[in-house]
Each structure stands twice: as structure tokens, then as C-alpha cells.
């Protein structure tokens, strides 16, 4: 605790610019210091939740409670966690085989799980009393394996995907409606958070399909060069969604113009497995097979942050917490990791002076962000050696491809090999 300066020794100010020479160089020095301190304090890892006995396959946030999450593992086990105490509240052996998907009901009273044993189970959020066996409220037996599930925002319907996209009523044991477009299987399905009747799903025929639940047929689909694994809607601008692709990139699409993605987010060096938006809709986090998670601004082509540890293996699922402060990642080596969304942020209560100082530093960094010294320090991230190597390799491959294309263009009839931008390259077709 600092002592306040006594009144007799007050701090009279005089803001006359001539009394404060070297305004810009001093401010620059401060900005440089702030940038360095930001990197010094960048300690994003908060905690690791261990207890699962197989790789984590899915994580879901509680619809109402900030501190609760559920995770499903590859051995069919589902665990409910308390984040502030970092402990497991409850363990359920929900399925035989993988737990493929979990979703929370909008009211926060129950949650659904789907698994490899072709069942959909509904569970109560409340743990059963002491000595009572864990039993699902409801179990639905399906015809084929389900790979994903999502619940409606306001009504008692939910959607699953597998060989078809099925819409279910909670009260009934058979789907209200099934969509399929060609023979394919689906890996992910998501309700739009704003236009609640709208659905998007990723199919194994390299397409992303949009549906309207009020209609009997799918709306349209966009076919890309490689398969998308998952997708996530932007919660604030819900006409955008971002899909995580096998070709190491993420693509943000505007549903009104599916022919060209709005942004291509490149930085991962292996297939991207999961993506989740922050509740502000400004950023999203992606998990990749290359053992890292990255945070992208929604309109930037490259990530602003990369998180990795020595022990973290292939990251399978990732979620952004509802208070916009934390990121959760579940990986192959049976751990759920809790990260800060802003790596250098100080946790806990801040005093007024601390708050003012952080705001001032933030503004300074923003003001001098284009100066080479500041930019160099702010941009630098440590990467594991093999990722760095793969990154270089990838760059070389891209360069070679570009060169090849240039040569082909040079030696063929003018106009026969058109110049394609990075955005246009990856879309094969849009089918209505």
C-alpha cells in the first residue's frame, strides 16, 4: 500500500509544452517500454484440468453459468468442471466409444450428448443425490452414428448431424425433419445465434451447407477444395461464419456472398480442427492438429497470438469463455487447458492507478504500432522448432507454386491462365 502524498506536498501541474520538451521521443520511449513489458508479462497459461482418461473430444460452456463447463472424452466419459476451483464436479459414463458432441439447453437445466453408440442422451445439470445412479433423463436410439449436436436458442428443438442433418423435437423420439444433399456425412452442425431458424453444417464432400429449418430442402452450399472440419457463427454479426478447414486455413464467409470468402486466415501449419468466436464477435480462437491454438482478429489474415506448451498434443476442441477473458482448449493428451484470452492481462481486481496505466500503455502501443522497433517486439512469438520448420517449408512450397503458375502463365496464350487471388483460389463452386 502506497502512502498518499500529504497535502502540503501537492503536485501542481503546468501543461505548458515548452516546459515539457522531447514530447515525441519520450512518448516513444514509453511506448517501447510498454511493448516490452507487455511481452514480459505475457503468461497466458492459467490452469490445466486433468482427470479424463482419454483424449478430449468436445467441450461445451454452460448456457447460464460462467464457471461451469462440460467436456466429453474419447472413452465415452463426460465430466462437469468448476473453473474457479479447477475441479471436476461430476463424472458420467455417457456413451460407449467416443462422445461426439455435447450441447447445453438454452435454459441451463439439462444438456445433450451424442456418441458413437448411435444414441442421443439428455442429462440433468443437477447431479443426482448421494448413492443414486447417474441416469439420463431421456435416451433416443438413432439409426446411424451421430457426429454433432446443437440446440435451438429459444425452442425445444435440436439438431444432430451424422449421415443426414436431423431436426428433433425434445418430446419425440424420431426426427421432425431430415436433410441430405447427395450421399455424404456431416461433421458439424450449428444453429445461427440470431436468425435462429438458420443452420449451417460441414459435410465430408468438402462443402458447407446452409439450411432453413422451416423449409424442406437445404438452401445452398459452397464447395471448397478441401473439407471443413467445424464452423462457428459470429455471435454479433451473424451473417458471417468461419469454418476451420483441412488445408490449414480458416475461411470467413458472408452468407449473402458465398462465392468468395470475406477473409482467409492463414497461420496454422496443419489441419484446423475447431474454431470458436469470442462473445464480442471481434476475434476467434482456432485449434489445430499442429499442437497450437491461435487467436485471430475476425478481419485479419494472420493471427495475433499463438499458444502452445511442450506437453500439449493435437488440440481437438477449443472454446472462448462467455466473459471474453479466457480460452479453453481440450487436447489429445487428456487435459483441458485454461488460457487467458489476452496474454499479458493482469487477473483480479485492478486499482484505479493500475487501470489508468494499462489504458495509457495500450494507447501508446497503438499509437506507435507501426514503428519498426515497436512492431518487431510486439509481433514476435516463440514457436516450437518443428512448427517453425513446417512454417518455412510451407512458405517455400507456396512460393514454388506461385513461381510455377507464373511460368505457366508466361508460356501460354494470354488470358488462358487467369490470375486468381488467394480468396478465389479455394472455392470450387456454389450450388443453389
Amino acid at each position: 500500500q502506497r502512502r498518499a502524498i500529504p497535502f502540503t506536498l501537492g503536485v501542481p501541474r503546468n501543461y505548458d509544452p515548452t516546459l515539457h520538451p522531447f514530447e515525441v521521443p519520450r512518448e516513444y520511449t514509453r511506448a517501447l517500454n510498454a511493448t516490452k513489458l507487455e511481452r514480459v508479462f505475457a503468461k497466458p497459461f492459467v490452469a490445466s484440468l486433468d482427470g479424463h482418461r482419454d483424449g478430449i473430444s468436445c467441450i461445451t460452456k454452460h448456457a447460464k453459468s460462467l464457471s461451469t463447463i462440460i467436456s466429453g472424452a474419447c472413452d465415452g466419459e463426460v465430466k462437469v468442471w468448476n473453473l474457479p476451483r479447477q475441479e471436476c464436479l461430476r463424472t458420467v459414463q455417457a456413451h460407449e466409444g467416443f462422445v461426439r458432441g455435447i450441447c447445453s439447453r438454452f435454459c441451463g437445466t439439462s444438456f445433450f450428448t451424442v456418441g458413437d453408440d448411435k444414441t442421443i442422451k439428455q442429462w440433468n445439470w443437477e447431479a443426482p443425490g448421494y448413492g443414486v445412479r447417474e441416469e439420463p433423463i431421456n435416451t433416443i436410439l438413432g439409426k446411424a452414428v451421430f457426429t454433432g449436436i446443437d440446440h435451438h436458442q429459444r425452442e425445444g428443438t435440436f439438431v444432430t448431424c451424422g449421415q443426414t442433418v436431423d431436426i428433433w423435437d425434445e418430446q419425440r423420439s424420431s426426427p421432425i425433419r431430415s436433410f441430405s444433399w447427395g450421399v455424404d456425412s456431416f461433421s458439424c452442425v450449428r444453429y445461427n445465434p440470431v436468425e435462429t431458424e438458420l443452420l449451417a453444417s460441414c459435410a465430408s464432400d468438402r462443402s458447407v451447407v446452409l439450411y432453413d429449418t422451416r423449409e424442406s430442402a437445404p438452401l445452398r452450399k459452397v464447395i471448397m477444395q478441401l473439407r471443413s472440419n467445424t464452423l462457428c457463427w459470429n455471435p454479433m454479426e451473424a451473417y458471417y461464419f468461419t469454418c476451420a478447414n483441412e488445408d490449414y486455413n480458416l475461411y470467413t464467409y458472408d452468407i449473402r456472398h458465398l462465392d468468395v470468402p470475406v477473409t482467409v486466415h492463414m497461420d496454422h501449419v496443419s489441419a484446423v480442427l475447431d474454431v470458436d468466436y469470442s462473445p464480442t464477435g471481434r476475434e476467434f480462437v482456432s485449434a489445430s492438429f499442429d499442437k497450437t491454438i491461435r487467436i485471430f482478429p475476425k478481419d485479419k489474415g494472420h493471427s495475433r497470438e499463438v499458444y502452445h506448451t511442450k506437453r500439449m498434443q493435437h488440440v481437438i476442441c477449443v472454446r472462448w469463455s462467455a466473459d471474453n477473458k479466457y480460452v479453453l482448449s481440450g487436447s489429445d493428451e487428456m487435459n483441458i487447458r485454461l488460457w487467458k484470452a489476452n496474454a499479458s492481462e493482469k487477473l483480479g481486481l485492478l486499482s484505479a492507478r493500475e487501470k489508468a496505466a494499462t489504458h495509457y500503455n495500450k494507447k501508446l502501443i497503438e499509437k506507435f504500432q507501426h514503428h519498426p522497433q515497436v512492431r518487431r517486439i510486439a509481433r514476435h512469438r516463440h514457436l516450437p522448432g518443428d512448427i517453425l520448420k513446417q512454417k518455412r517449408e510451407l512458405r517455400e512450397m507456396r512460393e514454388a507454386q506461385r513461381r510455377k503458375e507464373q511460368n505457366v502463365r508466361k508460356h501460354s496464350k494470354p488470358g488462358s491462365v487467369p490470375l486468381l487471388t488467394e480468396k478465389e483460389k479455394h472455392v470450387v463452386a456454389v450450388v443453389e
Binding site: 506536498l9 501542481p12 503546468n14 501543461y15 521521443p25 519520450r26 514509453r30
Partner: protein, 599 residues
């Protein structure tokens, strides 16, 4: 402090003029509401146009209703800020929105403009809250202020201010040079014959005194750094340029360092924001010592002979050196050559002073002239002839110039600017040659070092009346000093940033790509963007014979050149075609009757 109470002064012929008018009070004027409303409108100018509209609307409403029963604010809207005050806090020009800018850019520019305007207004408003006011000496009718003696002033003012006029009779150790600390609390005097003393001059408390048993060329109180002992109010470190080497002592007179890399130093300047001590030596070297880490930052051989005239520009930390051939050169630690060399005098330059805004430089030379230069444009503004010539010059925080002419110190007012130098504002005669002149910061005091000791002289209106406690606080506590020290060291400006324009860093570097590329080639010694030569891949089955390789090389070689040639050929043919057509037209147009005889 600097203010001298006017009540005491009224009894004598010495009077203090109040510059600032008292702020208007709403209860003083009840009848002249119209005038008071009009005035803010004029003063507001452009900034307050919207408010003007609102006042007009209110007036019209009043007229329609006839009488309004509601109480009205007599001064609606924000308090007006005088244009002059706003101007003081203007930083750079306003940003123009480029034509064809995108909506987002326009928005960003508008927001940042609004923010900076708000900051400017708030800063200007704060001027009203400043506690102190600057005053000036004003004589009676047909009385020159320069005839008023120091003793008279000291008698007329209050005791505290009066005690600021004093003499130290130190005739034994020869002429004295002096330096005030940045806060203005401590005074350092150094006699030619080795006497060095550090005094808290307001309490007349002697901090340390010693004789270094050697010639002292110059003294400089460095910033207060690293507390040597806890009970001292302010801990100072000071540098003394002795006969051979540069010594650094702490406030108790303990020798901390003897810097043998710095020899034969004649003059020193301390750059407080860079923590650099710049020294000029008899051997013609200008050296920079980083006092925070004790490293020599730069040593420049000026090749200009003995350097005994030195000043710093407090605005941009550039060092000014005066030379025997009448030139003044400007130096930064980043360049081996001088930034600027200007011929100022016909004879040698005797003394130099630069004002705190970095706009004006005052020089005096052996040709007995006093000249004022605008160092933004490097142009002389005016010059005047002093019969005795000025051996020492010093500029105060508020722009008073003091010049030592022989045994007399003259203080001039309004020298900086376009109007020429008139008669002195104050004068004071001393015994013995004057060796050092320095104004005390934040006080109306001029310190004079001369052959007979030291004299502290009262010069009303010399010092800045309001200090900024986060920058330099004369009354700071031990804790405040410690905190300031940490902050100052964290904010130490790197010597690489010293240049003529300190605001350069915030400007956009508009060098073209070609220019930057050229500079890069010069710096690196090779072209980093150059294409490497084509190396044919080795092929199997005998296709990599020397002849085949040569063939392949030839295929690829000059590919770009070929493109260029193709283009130029195309252009040439087009041009020729055009010329042909033109000439054809001409031929048809100028046909004369004699053309049929032509072959």
C-alpha cells in the same frame, strides 16, 4: 517564490505590473449582459460555432414569448477560451482528410481530431488554475528601470525575496563559474584556482566545499542521481572539468569517478532527458558521456581547434559550439560532421545562448556585436553593437537576456522576436571580470560568477512562475525525488533520437521505395533485392554437357531485357508511324506549285 507582493511595493517607486486581468465574475455585471454575451462569442471563434447557434435560438425564443419566467444561465455553453491560450497548446497542423478516403479512415481521422482538440482545450483551460503570475519591474514616469539598484529592490520586496540578493566574497580563488541544478535549489560554484562549493542557495546551507588543488575549467551539476545519503534533501552529483580530466563528485564532495577518457575539458553541458554529459575540450573533441551507465556514447573530432564556447538547445538537445573563426556549428552525437555551420561574426564567437523553445539563438563575438538568430530558418533577425562587447550570455526561462559587458551585467527585455534591442531593462555593476552567468530556474534570480566571488541578483520576471511538479519540483520530498528518478531513467531518450527536429519521430516517413532501396544498397554494400543469376539444373543422361548448359543459359539470359526491348521497339514503331502520318499531312498541306518539279 518568484512573486513579489504588490502591497509592499506601492510605497516605493518600484512597482510591479499585473499582466493578467482578474477573471470576470457573474455578480459584477448585471446591466451589461448583452456585452458579456457577445464577448465569449468573439473569443470562441471557430470552435464554438455550435454554441453560438444555440444562443441565437434562445434569444429568438425569448422574443416570441415576450417574457420568460425561467432562470437563464447568463453564460450559456462552455466557458470561452482565448485564442492565444489555445494556440499555445496547438501541436502540429490539423490533419486533412485525403480526397477519396474510405469511410473508415474518415471516421478515424475525425475521432482523433476531436480527441486532440478536446485535449488542447482542457490544457488551455487549466491555465486559469495556475497559482502564480509573472511580474515585471516598472519605473515611474521618465525613470529608467536600469537605474534602480539591487539594494533598492531588495529593500522594497518582502524579506524572503530580498534575501535572494546576496554576495559571496571569494576573492582568493579567482573568477568563478557556476551552475544551478535543474530544480533551482542547489548552486554549484567553481573557482579558477580550484575552489568548488555546492550550496543550497536559498537557505544558504553549504553542502560541500573543497579545493581540488587544480585548475577548474567548468562545473556542471548533473541530474540528481542515486542517493548517497538519506538525510539530504536533494542529492546531487556534479561534474567538474579540471586541468586534465573530468571528475564526478557526489553532493558531499566525495570523488566518485575520474573519467580519464575525457581530457582537457573546457565546457560542459548536461542533457537532462538523455542523461548525457556533453563536453568540449581544448583539443577540439566533443564527447558525450552517458551518466546513467557511465559509457562514452560518442566522441567527435570537430577539427575546429580549441572549443571554449558551448551551449545546448533545450528544445532538441543539439549542441552549439562557437569557434574562433566566427562560425557556430551544431552537433548531434549521431553524426561525425556538424549538422549545420553558420558564419555569425566577423571575429571569434565569445558566447552563445539558445532559448528554451529552440527558436532563437543569441551570439556575441569579438566584433562587439550581439546578434539574434532564428535557428529554425538559420536567419539573422537583428543585431546590435555593444561598446564593450558581451563576454557571457544567458537566457532566462521567460526570455530575458543577460549579457556581461566588462564589469557590468545588463539584462535586456523583448530581445527574442522581430523588434530590435533597445536600452537594457536592468543593469548591475560588479567588481572584477565576469566569468559565468546563469539564471536560476523557477526563480527571479540571476547568478553571476566573477573575479571577486559570486553575486545573486534579483531580476523580476525572469523565471517561470509555475513549475510542473512531475517534471521538476523544487519542493519535492525524498520519496517524490526517488519516484521521479525511476520514471526519468525509464524514460531516458536514446542518443540516436537527437536531431534537429525532435518531432520527426511522429511524422510519416515519405521516402519513396526507390530512395529507400538506394539507401539500403549504400548501407549494405550490395543489392538485397537483386535477382540471382540463373543456374541451370544438372540433368541426367548426358543432357548436361557444357554446350547444352550454355544453350539453356542463353535461353533464360536477358529474359527481362528482351521484354523491355520488345516494348521499346513497339513504342518506337508507333512513334514512327505517327511521325509519318504527320509528315504526310504536312506534305499535303504545303504543296506548292513548284513541287511538281521535284523528283
Amino acid at each position: 517564490m518568484a512573486a513579489v507582493t504588490p502591497e509592499v511595493l506601492t510605497s516605493t517607486h518600484v512597482e510591479k505590473m499585473k499582466k493578467k486581468k482578474l477573471p470576470k465574475r457573474y455578480w459584477e455585471e448585471t446591466e451589461k449582459t448583452d456585452q458579456s454575451q457577445r464577448r465569449p462569442e468573439e473569443e470562441q471563434g471557430k470552435a464554438g460555432q455550435n454554441q453560438n447557434k444555440s444562443t441565437v435560438k434562445e434569444k429568438s425564443l425569448k422574443r416570441k414569448n415576450g417574457e420568460s419566467l425561467e432562470k437563464k444561465d447568463p453564460f450559456p455553453g462552455e466557458a470561452p477560451i482565448p485564442q492565444k491560450q489555445l494556440q499555445k497548446f496547438q501541436r502540429g497542423k490539423k490533419c486533412k482528410v485525403p480526397a477519396g478516403a474510405r469511410e473508415r479512415l474518415k471516421e478515424a481521422i475525425a475521432i482523433s481530431e476531436a480527441m486532440s482538440e478536446h485535449a488542447q482545450k482542457q490544457a488551455a483551460r487549466y491555465d486559469l488554475l495556475l497559482p502564480e503570475d509573472a511580474g515585471f519591474l516598472e519605473g515611474d514616469e521618465d525613470e529608467d528601470t536600469n537605474t534602480i539598484s539591487q539594494a533598492d529592490i531588495a529593500d522594497a520586496v518582502d524579506i524572503t525575496s530580498g534575501s535572494k540578493y546576496f554576495n559571496l566574497h571569494l576573492s582568493q580563488f579567482g573568477p568563478y563559474r557556476l551552475d544551478y541544478s535543474r530544480t533551482g535549489r542547489n548552486l554549484l560554484v567553481g573557482g579558477k584556482k580550484g575552489h568548488v562549493a555546492c550550496i543550497d542557495w536559498q537557505t544558504k546551507d553549504l553542502k560541500c566545499e573543497m579545493n581540488v588543488m587544480e585548475t577548474v575549467n567548468d562545473v556542471n551539476s548533473l541530474c540528481t542521481l542515486r542517493s548517497a545519503s538519506r538525510w539530504l534533501h536533494t542529492e546531487a552529483m556534479f561534474a567538474v572539468a579540471q586541468k586534465r580530466w573530468l571528475y564526478i563528485y557526489d553532493s558531499k564532495g566525495v570523488e566518485l569517478h575520474c573519467v580519464k577518457k575525457f581530457n582537457d575539458v573546457l565546457r560542459m553541458q548536461f542533457l537532462p532527458y538523455h542523461f548525457l554529459l556533453a563536453t568540449a575540450s581544448a583539443t577540439g573533441f566533443l564527447q558525450y558521456l552517458d551518466v546513467s551507465i557511465g559509457k562514452e556514447v560518442a566522441a567527435i573530432c570537430t577539427k575546429m581547434g580549441r572549443l571554449d564556447v558551448m551551449a545546448q538547445n533545450p528544445h532538441n538537445a543539439v549542441i552549439h559550439l562557437g569557434h574562433p573563426n566566427g562560425t557556430v556549428s551544431l552537433w548531434s552525437p549521431n553524426q561525425k560532421e556538424s549538422l549545420v555551420k553558420m558564419l555569425c561574426h566577423r571575429g571569434a564567437v565569445r558566447s552563445l545562448a539558445v532559448d528554451k523553445t529552440g527558436t532563437y539563438m543569441v551570439t556575441s563575438g569579438l566584433d562587439r556585436k550581439l546578434k539574434v538568430y532564428d535557428i529554425r530558418a538559420f536567419k539573422p533577425l537583428h543585431s546590435c553593437f555593444l561598446p564593450a562587447g558581451a563576454s557571457c550570455l544567458s537566457l532566462s526561462q521567460r526570455g530575458l537576456l543577460s549579457a556581461a559587458t566588462g564589469e557590468i551585467v545588463q539584462v535586456y527585455q523583448n530581445v527574442l522576436g522581430s523588434n530590435p534591442v533597445s536600452k537594457p531593462y536592468m543593469a548591475h555593476r560588479l567588481r572584477g571580470q565576469i566569468w559565468g552567468l546563469a539564471y536560476c530556474p523557477f526563480e527571479d534570480v540571476l547568478g553571476i560568477g566573477h573575479g571577486e566571488g559570486f553575486t545573486s541578483m534579483i531580476v523580476p520576471g525572469a523565471g517561470e512562475p509555475n513549475f510542473d511538479a512531475l517534471d521538476t519540483n523544487p519542493y519535492r520530498s525524498h520519496k517524490q525525488r526517488q519516484e521521479w528518478e525511476v520514471k526519468a531513467l525509464l524514460e531516458k531518450v536514446q542518443p540516436e533520437l537527437i536531431g534537429l527536429d525532435p518531432g520527426q519521430l511522429s511524422k510519416v516517413d515519405q521516402a519513396s521505395f526507390e530512395q529507400r532501396h538506394k539507401e539500403q544498397i549504400e548501407a549494405l554494400g550490395f543489392d538485397p533485392l537483386a535477382k540471382d543469376k540463373f543456374k541451370p539444373r544438372t540433368k541426367k543422361k548426358g543432357r548436361s554437357s557444357a554446350g547444352a548448359i550454355e544453350k539453356r543459359k542463353r535461353k533464360v539470359a536477358h529474359e527481362d531485357q528482351r521484354d523491355e526491348i520488345r516494348q521499346s521497339v513497339q513504342e518506337r514503331t508507333e512513334r514512327e508511324k505517327e511521325l509519318k502520318e504527320k509528315s504526310n499531312e504536312k506534305k499535303l498541306g504545303n504543296k506548292s506549285t513548284l513541287d511538281r518539279f521535284r523528283k
